[in-house]
């Protein structure tokens, strides 16, 4: 019975089918809004779905120099990781997450699976452009994981210290605390950490100011260069899912409060919150910024988001009083 519930959670709701549809919707809104910001008409909102169907109908080419097994399995790895990651995130009023403790760290590991899949696929393809892309991807991972980890730690300690423990790293623990004591976003001490998380989202996704690994104009799509057909579709889908997972994570960590107790209202409210995060941290940034160089991006992550979260962490430790 537990296994059955787990499978439903990962393959139907909230991971799997629901996550894929929602991710496609977010991607479509993102593309449409991006075009509107440039005063273009833009593609229809269901364009990402059309692209996926088109890609599955195309021929799949595998380069002669590629390592067949790794090249074919890499897209699946990232995709599966993201489906499992979305199943770990609670949605207020509808779904309470998979496990009771320690899942924020599991999430951090799962969040790096798409980057890992990209690196494996790129190295297996045997193309020089792909290997340059893979090494850049690796550098980016090293840069953005530092602030991301400190944000998680900050949120965990904020919730933990308030409850008399050192840190609470379970998703459901963090969400339940906020449902009882109000969102962490309303706490001014947490504002820098929230901003730092928003900075990390485009870097983790590899969209425009930080699309250094995939740089179309210099590396010809980098790690994705040799992928065509269904493999490419899988990678595109993984990118969309990652966008959804990160925005859902921002919602769960900083403002998970729901409206009323009716599930449909809560679901729509959750989607609206995800959309707000996507628009502000991805679309607006993507439409107004140009690509950074690798060293600039590396410095950016190690200076701005990291110091922002550290400010939050220090403020929390300074204002901490032992519960009497």
């Amino acid at each position: 019975m537990d296994i059955l519930k787990l499978l439903v959670n990962i393959l139907l709701f909230p991971g799997g089918l629901f996550a894929i549809l929602l991710a496609l919707f977010l991607l479509g809104i993102d593309r449409k809004l991006y075009a509107r910001l440039q005063r273009r008409v833009g593609p229809p909102i269901h364009q990402p779905l059309l692209d996926l169907i088109k890609l599955t109908q195309k021929e799949t080419l595998i380069p002669r120099t590629a390592n067949m097994t790794a090249f074919r399995l890499a897209p699946l790895l990232g995709f599966a990781g993201m489906l499992a990651a979305f199943a770990l995130i609670p949605i207020t009023g509808i779904y309470s997450g998979l496990y009771q403790s320690g899942d924020l760290l599991v999430l951090l590991y799962l969040l790096s699976t798409p980057a890992l899949a990209l690196m494996i696929g790129a190295s297996a393809s045997g193309s020089p452009y792909s290997s340059v892309g893979a090494s850049r991807e690796m550098t980016m991972v090293l840069a953005y994981e530092v602030p991301l980890l400190i944000v998680f730690l900050t949120v965990g300690m904020r919730v933990g210290l308030a409850g008399g423990k050192f840190a609470v790293l379970s998703m459901s623990g963090i969400v339940n605390y906020q449902l009882q004591n109000g969102s962490l976003l309303l706490d001014l001490r947490m504002l820098p950490a929230f901003l730092a998380f928003l900075c990390c989202i485009p870097g983790t996704l590899g969209v425009v100011p930080f699309d250094i690994p995939e740089a179309e104009t210099e590396l010809a799509e980098g790690p994705l260069l040799e992928y065509s057909g269904s493999g490419l579709a899988m990678f595109k889908m993984t990118g969309g899912l990652k966008m959804l997972v990160l925005s859902a994570l921002a919602v769960a960590l900083f403002f998970p409060t729901g409206i009323g107790s009716f599930w449909l209202v809560n679901l729509l409210w959750f989607i609206v919150k995800c959309l707000i995060i996507c628009v502000f941290s991805i679309t607006l940034v993507r439409a107004t910024r140009a690509r950074m160089r690798l060293d600039q991006a590396y410095k950016f992550f190690l200076i701005y988001p990291t110091s922002l979260t550290l400010i939050s962490l220090v403020l929390i430790l300074l204002t901490f009083r032992m519960p009497s």
């Binding site: 273009r40 833009g42 593609p43 364009q47 692209d51 169907i53 088109k54 021929e59 590396l219 040799e226």
Partner: protein
């Protein structure tokens, strides 16, 4: 079923550019068709892609000089089927101002099948968009 797929597929053609010795005039016009707000091909679902392996419609400009011919054919062969070729500008069609030059062996359709010709030196963005729209119709029927 196949008609259903065709109707979905025709809304998502991805474009790739090959410069086969062009003077860059046609390339500027091609960039213009997609990259500036005035002529938006993304409303047709088009997207410029950086890798030939992601492409559906390939726009070739330039008179196919002897040096670039083999490289052009190699890139062309990397594009997964079904694919459609659009010759942009007068150069790939007949050689244009470079006709009978020592560095040009033959025109584009002597090497690969060309589906749409967009003549001009350079062609107007509207003509390129029209060529892409015609190419989409041909491409769709190949599924």
């Amino acid at each position: 079923m196949s008609e259903f797929i065709q109707n979905i597929v025709k809304k998502s053609p991805w474009i790739y550019r090959i410069n086969a010795g062009s003077c860059n005039g046609c390339d500027v016009e091609m960039a213009t068709t997609a990259l500036i707000p005035r002529y938006d091909v993304e409303r047709l679902g088009c997207k410029y892609c950086g890798s030939p392996k992601h492409a559906d419609i390939v726009l070739i400009s330039g008179p196919i000089t002897a040096v670039v011919k083999d490289k052009m054919l190699r890139v062309y062969n990397e594009i997964p089927n079904p694919k459609v070729v659009v010759a942009v500008g007068i150069c790939p069609i007949s050689g244009g101002v470079f006709r009978e030059s020592y560095s040009i062996d033959n025109q584009l359709d002597a090497y690969i099948p060309v589906d749409v010709n967009v003549p001009g030196c350079p062609p107007r963005p509207q003509a390129i968009i029209d060529g892409i729209a015609k190419a989409i119709e041909i491409w769709k029927s190949k599924f």
